[in-house]
Amino acid sequence: MIEMMLSTALVLFAIAIAIALYRIIRGPSIPDRVVALDMIVVNLISGIAVISVLLKTKAFLEVILILGILAFISTIALSKFIERGVIIERKRNR
């Protein structure tokens, strides 16, 4: 029963990812795509969590953490790139 539910959840996550993918491909502006990417990663996090329940292991919890950090950093980086044109700014006084 619980496996059934988890699988259903996985399918729903997949559908969410597919929708986000559509936004990435079509999305008229870059911010659209960045947000869609963030959404995909969040869904991936949830998917991996569900999978590790399915596989009955705790080994993938670090993966979830890593993905969370990566999603955050990359979203920040992309936003900064859109905003300023560079990601790492040089020091002025050189």
């Binding site: 996985l10 991936l44 991996i48 999978i51 080994a59 993938f60 993966v63 890593i66 990566l70 990359s74």
Partner: protein
């Protein structure tokens, strides 16, 4: 190390001191030291004369005993004869060179170093019993000859001649090495004497004929036999003492020596007789025919050397027939060997003196062209006398030594008519005819050499210098050689018992019992024999041809230039060069795409060939895990992303698709339960996508067109081939699993022996920590490399 070994390498050792003598004692001409050494060596080798009457003397020094390569010096009649020639003529040539080469203008240090190198190498060739040592010294002679020919390296012709002789003789030398190795394979020994002692056993060996031909290649190239004689005339660019020493008396006889030395091994076979005698006799005729055409004194002498070497070679070939007749009562063919050795000595004497004469004429008049020379008889009477003795001896006139050996040569050639082995009877008539024709032309060019230089009209306006008689020192060596010509001519028997007999015995050791039967041959020169009539015919026809020379000279123009061997040689060099250039250009086109195609095509080719060859393809589904829905979905995603990369219009899409593949692979790792891999893969994929984006962002604005990757059929085929072959191999490997994996050991021992629970990490840092260390090194190198590439800009041509 015995005294004999020291004697052999003494010139090489002494060569090390020459530069000091040249630099420090520059008041004395360096040649005097060399002269001293060669005279000492000559006297040393003379002392062997009584010993070699009863077999040879052998001394061994170990060099590489584990391979059977030892520096075994062996002195018998043949080796001693050559050693005496080398040191004797060597002394005379050093003496001559002292007066020939100027102390002020020439680089004497190099000259005498090369000359001593050559002398030592040549002594090594003739006195080594070990084939490999012989080969070593053989190459050293080629090498020092190259240096000597190119002595005046600022002249283009010198460099050309040196290169040509190097190419041809080294080609032959390498072939000879092959022959030696085959001999070793057949007999298991590098020692010539051991090989001779078991030579009967290898007669029928399949390697016997290849060995024979390869050894003959070496001998023919070194001894300037047809068609390899072409290097010798070009080697005349060397200083005249070198030409006299190397290219008449010693080095070109190394091939003769080799043939004589290995006769006991090979001469049983008819091919040996045919090749040696046939090429020899043809070289004789061809060389003497071409000598008449030349106008340069040294060129005439060069072709004459070619022809005389052919004579000796053909005599050695005929001498091989002696092995086939056991009855020694009237051994006609042994006389041929005897004649070969005798003429070898004679040729060294008269040719050496003639070269020195040519050098004197060149030195005193400034030219060697016989069209500009003439009437020098009154001006240079001594030189004329020497030249007369030399040329008459060369032409084979009494009372000089050339007459005796020429008679014996003709006698041997007439005796060929009675040979009844190896189908000889069909063609044997060719031998006396060619010999006679060759001798006629020999007579013609000898007369040309003498009379065109020294008689006729004196043309001082055509000469660069005011000619006068040469200095005494320069004349000493040719006078000694000329005197020897006469002495050997009048008293040939002083040579015959002392040296020729032991030498002939060494060439045919199987017939050694009948030693006394050929010692009588040399006194046979009285009497009305067919060869005497042939000699009279040679003189009459030769004199007629010489007088009418201007009338028939034009036939040399008839011979097409395109077929000339020199033309062939030059063309083949040019062709080889341009051919290899075009071959290289055709496949090394500088495009990495092409090289990748080569790599992949050969990979697919080799792999598929070996799979088909070994019938290795296998496909079973035993032991495969069931496939779940998730794997299928992820596989579809990866396939879709891969296709997206191929067909994407923008590079950005490709980069993102690549990222998608990386992340999906991470998901695969999740499914296949590899948490450490997932972590690493996610982080690395993120970073590398970021780096790709960085590279993409910095693409130049110009030429930045968004377009699809073009379609190329070859690329598609190659890519498909690689994919298919790798898949096939993966299937086959999986279906052919033969052994259990060793993973069980790690599972059992990770916690127990290494004290960890994470097996992947324990393997990385404990069981197989070495790999990790070097991967850390790789990352460090990559980081430093990137830093270096960004920071270090040595050339600032384009930026700033």
């Amino acid at each position: 190390m015995s005294l004999l070994h020291f004697a052999i390498i003494a010139p090489l050792l002494f060569a090390c001191f020459i530069p000091f003598l040249f630099k420090r004692l520059n008041l004395i001409h360096t040649g005097w030291f060399v002269l001293g050494l060669s005279i000492i060596l000559f006297i040393y080798f003379l002392r062997f004369l009584p010993d070699i009457q009863h077999g040879g003397i052998q001394e061994t020094v170990n060099w590489i005993p584990s391979l059977g390569i030892n520096f075994t010096a062996y002195v018998d009649g043949l080796g001693l004869l050559f050693a005496l020639l080398i040191t004797g003529i060597g002394s005379l040539v050093s003496l001559y060179s002292i007066y020939y080469l100027s102390k002020e203008k020439e680089d004497l240090g190099s000259f005498y170093v090369y000359l001593l190198m050559f002398m030592g190498a040549m002594l090594g060739v003739v006195l080594s019993d070990n084939l490999i040592v012989l080969y070593t010294f053989w190459e050293l002679t080629s090498f020092s000859s190259f240096l000597l020919i190119g002595y005046w390296y600022h002249k283009k012709r010198s460099r050309y001649g040196a290169q040509k002789s190097m190419l041809i003789t080294v080609f032959g030398g390498l072939a000879m090495l092959g022959g030696f190795l085959l001999l070793y394979l057949m007999t298991g020994s590098f020692s010539i004497r051991e090989i001779i002692s078991i030579a009967d056993g290898i007669y029928g060996d399949p390697l016997f004929i290849p060995a024979l031909i390869l050894v003959l290649f070496g001998a023919f190239t070194k001894s300037a036999q047809f068609p390899f004689h072409i290097w010798l005339p070009d080697a005349m660019e060397a200083p005249t003492p070198v030409s006299a020493y190397l290219h008449s008396a010693t080095m070109v006889k190394a091939g003769i020596y080799l043939v004589a030395r290995l006769s006991p091994v090979f001469a049983e076979h008819g091919l040996w007789l045919w090749l040696v005698a046939g090429f020899g006799i043809f070289t004789l005729a061809w060389g003497s025919f071409n000598a008449v055409k030349q106008t340069d004194l040294k060129a005439i002498l060069a072709f004459s050397t070619v022809s005389q070497l052919g004579l000796i070679m053909s005599l050695l070939g005929i001498g091989a027939a002696a092995l086939h007749y056991d009855y020694l009562d009237d051994n006609l063919y042994m006389a041929a060997t005897f004649a070969a050795v005798f003429h070898l000595i004679n040729h060294a004497t008269f040719k050496g003196s003639l070269f020195m004469v040519a050098g004197i004429v060149d030195h005193e008049t400034g030219t060697r062209d016989i069209r500009r020379l003439g009437g020098l008889m009154q001006i240079m009477p001594v030189t004329f006398t020497i030249a007369l003795i030399g040329t008459f001896s060369m032409a084979g006139l009494p009372p000089f030594n050339g007459f005796l050996s020429k008679e014996m040569f003709l006698a041997a050639m007439v005796n060929v008519l009675s040979l009844d082995i190896f189908n000889m009877e069909t063609w044997s008539a060719l031998f006396p005819v060619l010999a006679w024709v060759g001798s006629v032309f020999t007579f013609v060019y000898s007369m040309m050499l003498l009379f065109k230089t020294f008689t006729g009209t004196y043309q001082p306006e055509k000469l660069e210098k005011n000619p006068h008689e040469a200095p005494v020192g320069m004349l000493v060596s040719p006078i000694i050689l000329g005197a020897l010509v006469i002495v050997f001519g009048l008293f040939p028997n002083i040579l015959s018992t002392s040296i020729i007999e032991p030498a002939a015995n060494a060439i045919s050791p199987a017939l050694i019992d009948a030693g006394q039967s050929f010692s009588t041959h040399i006194s046979f020169w009285h009497g009305l024999t067919p060869e005497l009539y042939m000699t009279i015919g040679i003189v009459i026809v030769g004199a007629f041809l010489y007088v009418t020379l201007p009338k028939w000279e034009r036939i040399y123009g008839l011979f097409p230039k395109k077929l000339a061997l020199n033309h062939l040689y030059d063309q083949s060099l040019i062709r080889a060069e341009s051919g290899s250039l075009s071959v290289t250009n055709s496949y090394m086109n500088g495009s990495i795409r092409t090289y990748m195609i080569y790599i992949f095509v050969s990979m697919v080719g080799i792999l598929s060939f070996s799979i088909i060859q070994k019938n290795a393809f296998a496909f079973t589904t035993d032991g495969l895990a069931p496939m779940g829905l998730y794997e299928v979905v992820l596989g579809v995603i990866i396939a879709g992303a891969s296709i997206t990369i191929l067909v994407a219009k923008s590079r950005l899409t490709s980069i993102i698709a690549l990222g998608a593949i990386g992340y999906t692979v991470a998901l695969f790792f999740v499914l296949f339960r590899a948490p450490d891999l997932v972590l690493t893969q996610l982080v690395i994929e993120t970073i590398s996508v970021a780096l790709f984006l960085l590279a993409f962002y910095h693409l130049p604005k110009i030429n930045r067109k968004e377009e699809r990757m073009g379609f190329k059929l070859t690329n598609a085929l190659v890519a498909a081939g690689v994919g298919v072959i790798v898949t096939v191999i993966a299937f086959s490997a999986l279906s052919n699993r033969k052994f259990e994996s060793i993973a069980q050991y790690y599972i059992e021992n990770t916690a127990e022996k290494a004290g960890g629970l994470n097996m992947v990490n324990v393997i990385l840092v404990d069981f197989r920590g070495f790999d990790t260390m070097f991967e850390i090194a790789v990352l460090g190198i990559a980081a430093l490399g990137i830093y270096g590439m960004i920071k270090l800009r040595l050339s600032r041509r384009e930026d700033t």
